[in-house]
Each structure stands twice: as C-alpha cells, then as structure tokens.
Assembly symmetry: C2
Homo-oligomer: 478 residues x 2
C-alpha cells in the first residue's frame, strides 16, 4: 500500500549537492514558461504567433543549446513521462475545456458533435489504420505488429482541439466554434478510449465477435465514464450547496471544486475508464450546477484558476515537445534512412487529411439532413473550415505515441523510433501550417472551387431530401 513517492523523489534530494540538477531543471522550466508567456503576449498582434508556437520555438532553441552543452548527447532536461502528462498536465486542460465550453451551443449541436467526435474519429481511425497497414507493410520499416498499426490509427485520429481554437472566435463564429471545440474534446476521449481498447485486446486474430466486443467495450467506457463525471459534478454541487448555508468560506469552496474535479479524473483512472471524458463531463456539470452555488469570488477564482492551470500545462507540453524534437536517440535511427522517414511522415499526413475528409463531409451532410432550419445547417465553406481546423495534431497524439512506442521515455527499436519521429514531424508540421487558414479565404482560386463544391453539395442535398420525402410519402401511402 506504499506509494513510494518518497524513495522516488528522494533521489532528487533537495539538500544534497549531488541532485542539485533537479532544482536547475525546475528553474529552467519555470523560467522558460515565463519567457513563453511574455514573448507570446508581445507577439499577440501577430496572428502567426502565439504562446504555443513560441513554446515550440523556445523549446527547439533550448534543445539546441542543451545539445551543444551536452556535446550532442541529449536535448531535453526532462525525460518524457506519461504520468507527468496523464496525472498532472492533461487533467487541468480537459477539465478547463469542459468548464469553459458554452453549454447552450454545445448541447444544441450535441448530436452533430457526437457524430463528429465518436463516429468521425472511428472512421478516421479505420482509414488511417488500414492505410498505414497496407502501405507500411510493404516498406522496410521494421517490426510493426497489428496492434501498432491500430495504435497509429488512434494516435493520428486525436486532434489538437484546444490549440485549434485559438484561431476560431467563440463570438464571431459560434456554430463553428462549438462544433470544432466539442468535436475536439469528444475526439480526444474517443481516441484515448480506442487506444486503450487497442492496447488491452489481443489483436492477433480479429473476428466478428472480437470486433463486437471492441465496440461493446468502447460503448461501456463511453457510458460509464460520462456517468462518473456527471455524478462527481453533481456530488460537488450538492456538497457545496449543503456546506454553503450562509457562511463565508471561499477557500473551502474553491478547494472542494478543485479536489472533486481531480478526484473525478483519478477515480476514472482507478476504474480503468476514460478519465478525459469523465473530467470533461464533470467540468460541464460543475460549471452548470456547482459554479452557480458558490460565492461570487469563488466563481471568479475557479474560472480563472482553471484557465491558468490549463494554459500553463499547455505551454509546458509544447515546450517539452520542442525540446524533445531534437532528441538524438530517436533521430539516430532515422538518420540512416532520412528519405524513408520523410516518406512515412508524408504518408501519415496524407492519411490524416484523407481520414478527416472521409468523415467531415459525409457526416456534415447527414447532420444537415436532420436539421430543419437552414441557418443551423453547416455550409460547405464551414465544412472545409471544420476539416482544416481539425487537422492539427498535438499533445495527446504525442503522449499516445510515447506510450505506444517508448519504454520509460527511451526508444530502442528502429520502427518505434521512426514512428516517434514521424509523430513529432506531423505535430510540428501541422502546428506550423495551421495559420494558413488565415489566408484561406483570401485566395480567390480556392474560393471559386469552394463555391462550385457548395453548389454541388446543395444539389445533392436537395436531391436526397426530395427522395427521402418521396420515400416517406410512399411509405405512408402504402
């Protein structure tokens, strides 16, 4: 029953000189995060830059410096730890996403969001897994098993929702914002659920019952995680309402909200559920019920404290990704065959593009069929933005890739090293070109073809609607 944190952290013993390095590392990291915030703020006018990009660039630069100091040995001051990511950095990001989401437009578009987030991710997962399997099997990459290919599907189906939203505005384009944001969060959860399902199943021989079991497992995780999140959120609201009783105790309220939010995440981990989904729904319920039962100052505090924690965690991750991008251990394998690595990265990027297109357009079409008023429909232009906005791959992809292809932050196998470096390349590339959508609506050539496609889809839409109406008529007459 001993959580051996003591002996673990004892090796970074504070007072002994030998482990003074850990203090140096913490100092460096905190100072770099400060630098990212300041530089990111100074460059705010520039739409091409923001904290995340700054963190990536600063991380890269620091990586270069460390690489030079250490004589080309390593480029990071922190070996990637899945636990650091999943136990400390991810919970505030996802909870904050749930806490700050505009519930009204989230629930109005709930069916579309679920369609995109769950079904869409599944489609993208299948296409990427299938594509990767059929292409990479012929190449001389190394020993990748079916589980690895499925993992690749899950890794590259995880969009970087939080980061993406810095381009869209919640006030200017409310429909797009809620769609992309909601999809991103449900997508996060789905791809982690998929990833866990893939890791826990014996995939050497798949048959129908196995596939059904996977779907069942997925549905069970989805339902139970959501229920746990909602239950914790409601419990916190009940406790705070009972506790409040006319007394003034802002700190206690804030403490209870923070602890219950974290507890929901850790409880989900305890029961092997999807902690991300749990904490997201707990965030939604808490902002809807708990938040209205606390004092005014608690409201301000929780709102900004969660946003700040999430903000710091994000910067930390990007800073780390930037530093780790130069890790020699991984690139050593790649340097033997730079062309192959580039090909793998391009293929993966292509698969991501195709996988996303394969669900955004058909599912938007489906969703439009269900909507009555034309304003609620997703125009073709908006579909393109949704498709494009969701192409970024970020922290979740990185974490999943590290989980699948490394052991304790280190890579020994060639195939694994190639997959890690390809993930880094895709993340860096997709984060780098994301600001192209700023130009998107300025290029008239593209705009013309978009208009043509819009007309085409409108025609298809009317046709389908008419034939559906005819069919319903026919059914009611017969």
């Amino acid at each position: 029953m001993v959580f051996d944190f003591g002996t673990l952290v004892a090796s970074l013993n504070r007072l002994s000189t030998s482990d003074h390095q850990s203090v140096v590392s913490i100092n460096l990291f905190v100072a770099l995060i400060c630098a990212c915030i300041i530089i990111g703020h100074l460059l705010e006018e520039n739409r091409w830059m923001n904290e995340s990009i700054t963190a990536l660039v600063i991380g890269l630069c620091t990586g270069v410096v460390i690489l030079l100091i250490s004589g080309g040995k390593n480029s990071h001051i922190l070996v990637f730890s899945e636990d650091l990511f999943f136990i400390y950095l991810l919970p505030p990001i996802i909870f904050n996403a749930g806490f700050q989401v505009k519930k009204k437009s989230f629930f109005r578009n709930f069916s579309t969001i679920m369609l995109f987030g769950a079904v869409g991710t599944l489609i993208s997962f299948i296409i990427i897994s299938f594509g990767a399997t059929s292409i990479f099997k012929k190449w001389n990459i190394g020993n990748l098993e079916i589980g690895d290919y499925l993992a690749i599907g899950a890794i590259f189906s995880a969009t970087d929702s939080v980061c993406t939203l810095q381009v869209l505005s919640q006030d200017e384009t409310p429909l797009l914002y809620s769609l992309v944001f909601g999809e991103g969060v449900v997508n996060d959860a789905t791809s982690v659920v998929l990833f866990n399902a893939v890791q826990n199943f014996d995939l050497s021989h798949i048959n129908t019952s196995k596939a059904l079991e996977l779907v069942g497992n997925f549905l069970y995780l989805f339902a139970s995680s959501t229920i746990l999140g909602v239950a914790t959120g409601l419990l916190s609201a009940y406790i705070i309402k009972k506790l409040y009783f006319g007394r003034h105790s802002t700190d206690r309220e804030v403490a209870i909200v923070i602890l219950m939010a974290y507890l929901s995440y850790m409880l989900a981990e305890l029961f092997y559920l999807s902690a991300i989904l749990t904490v997201f729904f707990s965030g939604i319920v808490m902002s809807h019920y708990t938040w209205h039962n606390v004092t005014e100052s608690s409201r301000v505090t929780t709102k900004h404290a969660f946003a700040t924690l999430s903000f710091i965690a994000e910067i930390f991750i990007f800073l780390y990704v930037g530093m780790d991008a130069l890790d020699m251990e991984k690139w050593r394998f790649v340097s033997d065959s730079p062309q192959l690595s580039l090909q793998v990265s391009s293929i993966l990027l292509g698969l991501v593009l195709v996988g996303r297109a394969a669900f955004v357009f058909p599912l938007s079409f489906l969703s439009n069929l269900m909507k009555k008023s034309p304003e609620e429909r997703i125009s073709f232009n908006q579909q393109i933005i949704i498709w494009w906005a969701g192409l970024m791959r970020g922290a979740v992809s990185m974490a999943l890739a590290y989980n699948q292809f490394t052991r304790g932050g280190h890579t020994q196998l060639r195939a694994n090293a190639i997959m890690i470096t390809s993930t880094i390349t895709v993340v860096l590339f997709s984060t780098g070109v994301r600001y192209l959508n700023f130009f998107f609506d300025k290029i008239s050539g593209i705009n013309n073809s978009i208009r043509k496609m819009q007309n085409l889809q409108d025609m298809a839409f009317e046709l389908t609607k008419k034939s559906l109406a005819n069919y319903t008529n026919y059914l009611s007459q017969s």
Copy 2:
C-alpha cells in the same frame, strides 16, 4: 542535464496494472483531503476542532485502518518525502503567508518582529541545544553527535505559525496577530537557516572564528534571501505593468504571478539561500506592487487561489503527520524503552517552554523600551499570549526532523527513531493542547498571578526607564 522525472515516475506507470497502487494512493489522499475539509467545516462552530485537527485525527484513523489491512506492517500510503514537502507543499504556504499579511502592522512592528523572529529564535535554539546536550548525553539514548543536538535546537525552535493564527483574530487583536504571525514567518526562515548552517558546518570543534563564521553565514543568507525575494517581486510587478498596456489577459497575469512566485522559491534553492524567506518577501512585495497592477478578476483569483493552495497543502501535511504517527518502524525502537521515549518527549517539551519564555519576556521588555506611546507597548498579558501561541510545533519541525534523522523516509538507528517519535509526540501534544488558550483567560487564579507579574514588570520597566534617563542625563552633562 537530464532531470530524470521520467524514469522516476515511470515506475508508477499509469497504464500498467502493476502500479495501479499509485492511482489508489492518490485517490485515497484526495478523498481524505475532501473529507477533512467537509468535516472541518461542519465542526466549525466547535472552537476545539478545525481542518488541521480533523486532518490529524483522520490521518490517525486511516493509519489504524491501513495498519490493520497491512497486518501491522505500515500505517502510511506515502513515504515521507522532503522534496514533496520542500518543493511542492511549503512554497504555497509561505508565499500565501507573505501575500496575505497586513503589511501596515507588519512593518510598524517590524523591529519587534525581527527581534522575536531572529534573535528570539537564536536564543531558543541555544537554550534547547544546550539543554538537550547536557541532559541527553547522560542518558542511554544512542549515538547522537553535536550536529544532532544543534539540529534538535533548530527543529524545536521552529514554531507552527500558520496553524497558530487560527486561534488569534486579525481584526480583534491586530497587534498580537501581526506580532505572532510575523514572528512565526521570520522564525520559520531563521530556524531553516540555522538548520542548514548546522548541517553544512563541521561542528566537531567550535571556536570563536567558527562561531563568527556561522553568524556571518546566517546574516548573509538572511540578507541575500530577502533581496532575491524583493527583486523577484519587483520584477513581476514591472513585467505585469509593461504587459498590461490596456489589454485583457487575466490568465496570463495570474500565470505570471504564480510562476514568478514559484521561481523566486526555486531560485533561492538554486543559490542555496533560504527559500522560505525569499518566497515570503516575494509574497509581500507582490501583494504590495504586483497585485495593484493586475485586473480586478486577477486580484480576486490570485488572492483566493494562493489561499486555497496553502490550505490544501496544510491539510495534506497534517493528514500525513497523522498517518505517519503510527508508523511501526519508528515505534519498534521506542517500544523497547517506552519510559525513556516519554522522558525525552517531556524534556523536549519543557525545553521548548523554557526556550520560548527565555526570549519572549526579555525581548518584549527591550521592545517596550524602544516604544514611545504606551499603546504600542506589549502588556504582560499579551506577552503570555505570545509565549503560549508560539509553543506549537508543526510541519516545519516535522520536515526538519525527517531531514536530520531519516534516510529516504526510513529510520534504522535507535537514537534517530527516538528523536523522530519525540518530534511526533511534541507536535501532536502541542497541537492538541493549543486550544487551552481558549480557557486561559477564564481561570481566575492564573489571571491573578498574571496581574501580579504585570505589576512587577511595570515596576521594572519604570525603573529601567528612569535609570536610562538618568544615565543619558549624566552622559549629556559630563
């Protein structure tokens, strides 16, 4: 340059079943902290109970349960880690103390506070070290060196300032509050400085130059730590003033304040200064300058976020102390000679009482001599309250004791085990009887003798004042 957090935390790997225990531990701890807050709140009407006592009691109960489950092997789920304490739990507590202190009365009484906090702690340190050396050397305790005795002096000179204040009210007794609070914080810093000085010096043969070197070291640490804290605070104020520039960025502001506060602490650690003093002064400067440059919502957020973090950290420590109090490994040595252990604890308690009396009364007398208006003087009644309020020993004592007498949370030597258990006993006892001051002013017998002592001290005061005036007269005439 590798901060090996990865491999460190990798052993509590999230996804593998074998290390599911760490998830269990975190769940248990978070749930227990929630329980402490709720129960502490429900018992608020009762002046005998509060969150800290509740945490101690719940910790003890949980310890019993774990002890029964583990078959008498261990009682805690978390091996005590100095790093956990010094890197994560202590900074928010001390920063918050500096951030929330009423600066006006703090600086008005600054000389008295410094007198109590620095000189007083030194006196207490000397008396306790000397007393422990002369008494324990004759007893059959085990192998304790001169460094150990000096460490005992430092350990038991550290008062539990934060906890103490739950008895005093900042509005009802502003002078007492600022004195006890201010003294407590400076005391914390002083005893840690003393402790570090004791640990880093070769104390096998002390001579005058060594003693002077110690004093010089102490003064250097004190000055440089304060300067670093003030500098970081001012830097944060400057950055935020520059950054603000009419833009709205609450999260960035809050992030910068939190990160700079933590950075000040870690920088002090980096340069082997007193991080506690640094972060305390950085807290004072930040609340005085930075806080007034941020937006209204940032003000509310930082104020409550720091208070909440400090609150959670305190509960965590008490919960842990409660659990650890039942650790069999330590009591095994003691069970061979329960009488000896009891005697050691009583002697230490006695020394704490004497050591505190030896500086509170003389130094109050000195401080009164410097004050012009009679309202600013500390009455004898108030002196008794100061003496009594500062008797509690808490988390800092525990942490220092663990640092001196354990290796990685474990105790092998008999003498060390006795010192640890005695520290636990003194902390538990002093925290337990602290609420007796609630009764203090109700017992008329004590009140009578206080009055007599007050008259006695007043006479001595007038006498000294008169003779000082005569002396000054004499000097000016001659």
